[in-house]
Amino acid sequence: MSAHFPGLVIIIPLVAAFLILIGALLDRRLAFPLTALALLGSLLTAIGLLGKVIQTGVVEYHLAGWAPPVGIAYRVDHLNALVLVAVATVAFVNLMGTRELVKGLFEDRLGPFYTLYILLIAGLQGIVVTGDAFNLYVLLEIAALTGYALVGMSEGRAPLSSLNYIFIGTVGASLYLLGVGYLYLVTGTLNMADLAVRLPALYPSKVVVSAFVICLVGLCIKMGFFPMHAWLPNAYSHAPDPVSSLVAPLVTKVMIYVMIRMMLFVFTPAFAFDQMAISEPMVWLAIAAIVAGSFMALSTRRLKRMLTYIIVAEVGYMVGGFWLGNRLGISGAILHIVNDAIMTLCVFLSAAAIISKVGSDAIDDMQGLFKKMPVTMGVFVVAGLSIIGVPPTCGFFSKWYLISGAVAAGQYGFMAALLLSSLINLVLFFRIFEIAYFEPFHDHHGDHGHFVSAVQEAPFEMLVTLVVTAVLLFALGIYAGDIVSQIIDHAIPVGIT
């Protein structure tokens, strides 16, 4: 059975999606357990896959039994096994944590919600494992479509932001598709490994150059990289809470993964770093992203919005780290994908818990929360510390690699940007902590007229998941060295020093 792991990791959630819908038509309560079961299966499979990859190296899976250039193949190496586990973990944890919230928000449409949820996960996992450039596009779209729907499902400004998200996301995906088309035009194949073999002979061609640029631009749009980030804060901050805690950790990270995959394994590093010579501008853009994201986060007084701006900055971290082009930087970027996924999950989940209890996401409404929700706030503090980059938490270690990479590459500007953003994050989070800590608790929350004297801890299962994520943050931090040496080192092509 383990030979089928690469396929199963996608198929389990996919098949489950349809079963969930059918089940939910029969009885609404079936939706959640089915989803949980499927995601658990997927998670276990992913972990099994990771173990297998660590033991035996790259695993290939030929769908429909056709060998790669003809058929579609899955190719699981260290890189995507790692990201796969991260995705599955985030999905599962978030699912467990948000059960009550979802029940409250989408009471009458649980079936569709969970179907979309699990399809989104299937799509993202598919993106991660697939070894076919076009298959990736399809999966990209499935993840995006479900994402749009989930994001748009909330009152207020959510539909509008989601619509903008659709526009920009579609342009991004179309550009990616165009890039793949350009590559296909000159090589005649869509398989990534095959492309990597056939491309080097064609590097001088302008087609390859423009394919590269188009792909990159498309992916940058999808991941919300700095000049193209405009959709991200709106979409994520207006989304319903259980959704933003799912989408925010995963989608941008998976896109960054795609970028890394395309750059390292389709366009080889020799092309991406040496011939194109865009490392420098990309790093500068990343610096701009970090600085801009941080300052925009400073300028807002809304919790979720602030967090989304932080995501903009984090995307800058990862992209910048990758484009440093040395081993340390890339390791940092990959490690940060995993870490940031968990971090963002943690911070968004606790934000969701807070918002669900307080009834508002204005930072000023969070007075006295340390007293009322000690556990939630504790986890929030841990997550905040991780984002700031305080040592035992995982955020520090990826930042460590990124900065080392920057030092090794001589990009002191990037280093400065990282440090600056850490400082700003410090300010951001402690601003919240101060309010939650110093200001006495009010029964009435400002002009909302929302009577929340009943503010108390989040539901038990949410607390458990929160604590679990917080522990994960520490665990990832402590085992960062192992992760890097056991997995990430093998994920990066040998040529990169």
């Binding site: 305080v390 690699y401 030092v407 440090l419 400082l423 410090l426 402590i478 060295g481 040496s485």
Partner: protein, 492 residues
């Protein structure tokens, strides 16, 4: 050099962390404080149990986990760390006792939280003391910054908020902004960050880089309150007095200087600094801090603020000692950690006791208080003498060693600074004592009932005062440890 592998350092660090759930979930205050005491005693016992081995010139090593290639979370107990850990863990016991009196006396809120974070802070302090490399040290350093934040802002009012902000911005900001990159650059040059007696940076970087790094480290450990980055310390005096006492006389600020000394000796290496002739700017900075801090202290009316500026000045003695790069100087600096700790904590305890008993904070309001609170003010006197460096107290010893060090290093200017600052110390402490004992009390100032502070307050401060005295004649473990480590780092 023998090394022992043992998990004792790890346990010593963790013991107070483990106590947190116990403290946190205790139902009654008595049980809670019982746990605190127990943790403190166990911790001290663990630390002390390692003392003989260290005194025999051994090092105790404990590697926990390798977090980055060539970098692991590791502990190593050597003489210098031992010195600091000994001071810190011993004072925790005393401070715990004092806190009980203080907190109960003032009927403070959120005492559970207070004790929890106190325990965390201590863990962090011991962690810094025992850390084997810069990374571990950084980890605990940050942990300490964050754990003390709730303590500093314990009152949760507007003033606490602003000073808490300042505190964090200075300490964490500087450490992220300066130490982290410096650490990375070092790592980039050397490939590891272990403290080694002769420094790891030697021979890998140019003079300019080293100077830059030195600058970043010295200012980055803002807890040491070197001059431009000192202003958090007076601000942090809004904390409850035991906090000020332990953390701002012992743990926090000492962690700062400890880190600086560690970095100077363990990363840069005295030889290299000497070779590159980088001690002068360091000395200059430290001297400036001493003098300016003392001058400012002169003009303070609030007792705790005055003590804070005094601390700023005194801390720089330690930096100064390390920066002299001579064995005596370094020894003096190290010993000063212990001496100053006992002296200053006595002073803080006294200030707290006065506050508990009378509610007074300003010196001008304390006229004649010595008659009402003789024990407290006597202890204050002893502490002040110790800080000034007058003979009957331990402070004399460390200052004397420093002076010897200055002579050894041919730094006449430093000598002058030391002496002049001692004068200044005397100038700002003595009026207090004078006013307390010799001026007639103005009746309007005190209610008739004012008596000594609660027993839990008075006993600890008496103990520390006595120890300050004792240290002059029997400075043994500290002195020996300091000499050992100084010998090691300076290679003599």
């Amino acid at each position: 050099m023998d090394t022992l592998i043992s998990v004792k350092p790890l346990i010593a660090v963790l013991v107070s962390l483990l106590a947190i759930p116990l403290i946190g979930f205790s139902r009654s205050p008595n049980v809670r404080e019982g746990w605190t005491f127990l943790a403190a005693v166990i911790k001290f016992a663990l630390v002390a149990s390692m003392l003989p081995a260290v005194l025999h010139g051994k090092e105790i090593i404990c590697q926990v986990v390798e977090v980055l290639p060539g970098l692991s979370l590791a502990f190593r107990v050597d003489a210098f760390g031992m010195l600091f850990a000994l001071v810190a863990s011993f004072l925790w016991i005393i401070t715990s006792a004092y806190s009980i009196g203080y907190m109960r006396g003032l009927d403070e809120h959120a005492q559970t939280r207070y004790f929890c974070f106190f325990a965390v802070s201590l863990s962090a302090a011991i962690g810094v003391a025992f850390s084997a490399n810069l990374l571990t040290m950084y980890l605990f350093y940050e942990m300490l910054s964050l754990a003390t934040y709730p303590l500093v802002t314990h009152h949760q009012d507007e003033e606490a908020r602003t000073s808490g902000r300042k505190y964090l911005l200075y300490t964490v900001g500087a450490s992220i902004g300066l130490v982290l990159p410096a650490m990375l650059v070092t790592y980039h040059f050397t490939g590891n960050l272990d403290f080694s007696p002769q420094g790891v940076l030697a021979g890998t970087a140019s003079r300019g880089t080293v100077a830059l790094l030195l600058f970043m480290f010295v200012f980055g450990f803002a807890k040491a309150a070197v001059m431009p980055l000192h202003s958090w310390l007076p601000a942090a005096m809004v904390a409850p007095t035991p906090v000020s006492a332990l953390l701002h006389a012992v743990a926090v600020v000492k962690v700062g200087v400890f880190s600086i000394v560690r970095v100077i000796t363990g990363i840069f290496g005295t030889d290299m600094l000497q070779a590159f002739d980088l001690s002068t700017p360091l000395l200059f900075v430290a001297s400036t801090t001493i003098l300016v801090g003392s001058f400012i202290a002169l003009s303070q009316d609030n007792l705790k603020r005055m003590l804070a500026f005094s601390t700023i000045a005194q801390l720089s003695y330690i930096v100064l000692g390390a920066a002299m790069l001579s064995p005596k100087g370094v020894t003096g600096g190290m010993v000063h950690i212990a001496m100053h700790a006992f002296g200053k904590i006595t002073l803080f305890f006294c200030a707290g006791a006065i506050f508990v008993a009378t509610g007074k904070k300003n010196i001008s309001e304390m006229t004649g208080i010595g008659r009402r609170m003789p024990v407290t003010m006597t202890a204050f006197f002893i502490g002040a003498l110790s800080i000034i460096g007058m003979p009957p107290c331990g402070g004399f010893l460390s200052k004397w060693t420093l002076v010897l060090g200055a002579l050894e290093a041919d730094q006449i200017a430093i000598l002058a600074v030391l002496l002049f600052s001692s004068l200044l110390n005397a100038a700002y402490f003595m009026p207090v004592v004078y006013r307390a004992f010799f001026c007639p009390p103005e009746d309007a100032l005190f209610e008739a009932r004012v008596q000594e502070a609660p027993l839990f307050c008075v006993v600890p401060l008496a103990i520390t005062a006595v120890i300050s005295l004792v240290l002059l004649v029997y400075p043994q473990p500290f002195m020996q440890l300091a000499v050992m480590s100084a010998a090691k780092v300076t290679g003599l």
